[in-house]
Amino acid sequence: MIRLTDIHKQYENGTRALKGVSVQIDDGEFVFLVGPSGSGKSTIIKLITGEVQPTEGRLMVNGYNMTDISPKQIPLMRRTLGVVFQDFRLIEKKTVSQNLEVAMRAVGANTREIQRRIPYILKLVGLTGKENQKVTQLSGGEQQRVAIARALANNPSVIIADEPTGNLDPARSLEIMSLLEKINEMGTTILVVTHEKELVNRFDKRVIAIESGRIISDAAGGYYNNVL
């Protein structure tokens, strides 16, 4: 569960990115976080992943109090999350399997666990047979599937996808979003940051809209067109 309570964030250069944001995302939810550039979406993601600390307010992520989390606890908290980026952030010189292995090694998984889990995840994301291909040999959509597979590698309770379809054509975007929906149906909480209105409105999900550091709307069911 993720809970932000009256969160304020002011950066060192004086920019006030968030002004009293309160929102709760329960376990098993699928949530779109939408808003224009500079609205504070990325700051929320950075707060949740522990890259930045809130200036004021209380933030709980999967049982960790992020307002006074110790540096040693941050890796443990991050193991409960899977993060997917717009630019995939894959290790280009490694194969599909090796990209997943890096994520699993990072949390101390042994070779037997890795060999058992990777085929299962690749099957889940539809990449069976691509294990030994270099990620640079894959299409954009396939690369994003690898990124989703990597996010799933350590069986996180929440997946945060930051503009996951930003570099993909509409057909591939729909595939990726459908894949995330499928993962959500298996019990994983999904938080998708995007500003693709059509895509959001195709899915009947909760949509949180943010503008100028404030939540302006929080409602279920393809709501993007109506608020922004």
């Binding site: 991050r78 193991r79 290790i91 990072a106 949390v107």
Partner: protein
């Protein structure tokens, strides 16, 4: 699980050496060069120290006994002199023996044969343990009742001390400078490795890797580079030292200088080279990776 992690770190660290082959080669070469220069200066200092030690052993001063004391009283001073701090030995020579020695030194020349037996005084040849404390020891000996006078070449003793201190200081300064230079070089190599893997590090951090999990492969890389450099430098040092020793032995001019055989020093040189190279490798890696862990 622990052994699994160790193998992973060793595998990753070793792979990175070959991924940045040219830089790794340059690092090993620089470590070899630095260790060779450092080792050569240290070995010169060790040899100078050894030679100075031998010269120090030969350094003594004379304490003359008061002429009013008979030979029995003169000999009884030995225990008192030997108990003075820093006195290694006090060897008694009667005036008769001293005269005989003097005449022998002059080749038993007829010119010195008629010298009266009481022209010289009974004396003690005193060796000191630490040449730096010689002045104080001379004063302590002079304070003994029955000692009339001393003759000590204090300026020579001071010269020895200064020479040894200068040699040691130069060696220490060079060693410190070269270690710092080596750390800087290896830090740059590892920095290049970490820079080329910064995305990978960021990904691992985002997946929940601890700082130590990320550090280990780089530390392994630095330690392996250091170790390789240390072992190659040891072999080179052996060769260089043996060649210099051979050249000096064959040179008539330098035959008064005796070098300590390398096999007598190998037991110290090898562990020192390995230890210094590991410090350089590990220190350089730890220094290089710090800023890439701030994700």
């Amino acid at each position: 699980m622990f052994s699994n992690q160790i193998w992973y770190h060793i595998k990753e660290g070793s792979r990175s050496i070959f991924t940045h082959g040219l830089m790794s080669f340059a690092s090993v070469c620089m470590i070899v060069a630095c260790l060779l220069i450092m080792g050569s200066f240290s070995l010169v200092a060790v040899n100078v120290n050894e030679m100075l030690g031998q010269l120090e052993d030969e350094n003594e001063f004379l304490a003359y006994v008061d002429e009013s004391l008979d030979s029995g009283q003169s000999m009884s001073l030995q225990a008192k002199l030997a108990s003075i701090p820093n006195v290694a030995s006090a060897t008694y020579t009667s005036k008769e023996e001293a005269l005989k020695n003097f005449q022998a030194e002059q080749g038993n020349s007829a010119l010195f044969q008629d010298i009266p037996a009481d022209s010289l005084r009974d004396r003690y040849s005193i060796h000191v343990e630490d040449i730096e404390l010689m002045e104080q020891t001379v004063a302590d000996v002079e304070a003994v009742t029955g000692i009339a006078e001393t003759r000590a070449a204090l300026e020579i003793a001071e010269g020895f001390v200064m020479l040894r201190n200068v040699a040691t200081a130069i060696a220490v300064i060079l060693v410190v400078m070269l270690v710092l230079i080596s750390i800087f070089i290896i830090a740059n190599t590892i920095k290049l490795a970490t820079f080329s893997r910064r995305e990978e590090i960021a990904i691992m951090k985002m997946c929940g890797a601890t700082n130590w999990f990320i550090r280990w492969p780089f530390l392994v890389e630095g330690l392996l580079l250091g170790l390789m450099g240390g072992l190659v430098a040891y072999v080179c040092q052996w060769g260089v030292y043996s060649l210099i020793g051979k050249a000096m032995a064959e040179s008539g001019i330098l035959e008064i200088i005796t070098m300590i055989p390398f096999h007598d020093l190998a037991g110290v040189v090898l562990p020192v080279f390995v230890a210094v190279s590991l410090v350089i490798g590990g220190g350089g890696s730890a220094f290089a990776i710090r800023k890439f862990l701030q994700v």
